[in-house]
Subunit: 191 residues, 2 copies
């Protein structure tokens, strides 16, 4: 009888584990990972993240427009996106990635317009007070001379943080350029 | 004894179900759904799909460039994307969505460039021989006069299919405009 009770309990526990594992694998929060030098590791699956917004030739610089405009796509890590959809907040560990593309035109059948071609750079914005006291930090992976780098140290000039902190529509995130992310905000928090 | 054996078997079955459910919920293939009139239902989660490519002002029309260029983003349903990554093939049930955005510029701190703003239209390409003998069919959800429609009948002019069939780099899909999807193809199948 004791054996039967123990086995019945095991069935129950196994079933509970089954249910919780089946429901939760996609929602356990993803967080940034660093190497032994505290460099941010580019997440392997970043190209599967959720689209926040798209731009062409966007530049914050004074003076002339960029000589070589680029397509930019900003993606957000899915579990941080889900948290944002539910709360309107970017939780600790939120990661956004910016993919910088060269511009092409003319492939058949296009007769007008431009499309994003080869990837020229990858940058990230990460909210992690355990790594940077200010919270948000900015990383460039793909720019020369480190094209294709798998790790990056944070930008230390302060210029990224200062501009984001001053101008971002919400918590250092340039929502004003991210129409899809803005549309996904909970209604009471939308702007 | 028979009870113990039965319970032990139940533990084993529950554990197997637990394992398979925990590993597979994200990979059970998503397929298109239709209403009673066989209209395609716009999937609720399409804005969480995986980015294939981005363009601005892309047009296949002869003559002058579009008077109001739009940003286009093409996304692919994640389980069809995974199948493509593994095989280089678009399986039956593959769904792509095209989001059409108006263009804005000038929000602080941008000094140059343009970004995707309000969504003006949503279109889909679906490979489903059970619905359309040719396989691929094309649907417009958001264009006037049906902006924001939740269902759509396939385009029946034949012009979408003919152009895709003639010009697509692979299986009716305009890979030539989708740099990220092209980069995700298995190496032996990349082009």
């Amino acid at each position: 009888m004791r054996t039967i009770t123990a086995l019945a309990a095991l069935v129950l526990v196994t079933a509970i584990v089954a249910t919780s594992r089946a429901q939760s694998p996609a929602s356990s929060p993803a967080t940034p990972r660093y190497d032994k030098d505290r460099a941010l590791i580019l997440p392997a699956d970043y190209r599967r993240w959720i689209l926040a917004g798209t731009s062409l030739g966007l530049s914050y610089a004074e003076g002339a427009a960029p000589e070589h405009p680029m397509f930019h796509e900003t993606l957000i890590e899915p579990t941080a996106y889900q948290h944002f959809v539910e709360t309107g907040e970017f939780r600790e560990g939120t990661m956004l990635v910016l993919i910088v593309h060269g511009v092409e035109e003319g492939s058949v059948p296009s007769r007008h317009g431009q499309y994003a071609a080869a990837v020229h750079g990858v940058e990230m914005a990460v909210k992690d007070r355990a790594r940077i006291p200010a919270g948000w930090a900015y990383y460039a992976f793909g720019d020369a001379p480190r094209a294709g780098a798998a790790t990056a140290q944070p930008n230390t000039s302060g210029s990224c943080y200062a501009c984001h902190s001053k101008n971002a529509a919400r918590d250092n995130v340039f929502m004003q350029f991210y129409s899809l992310l803005s549309a996904a905000a909970p209604p009471a928090r939308a702007r």
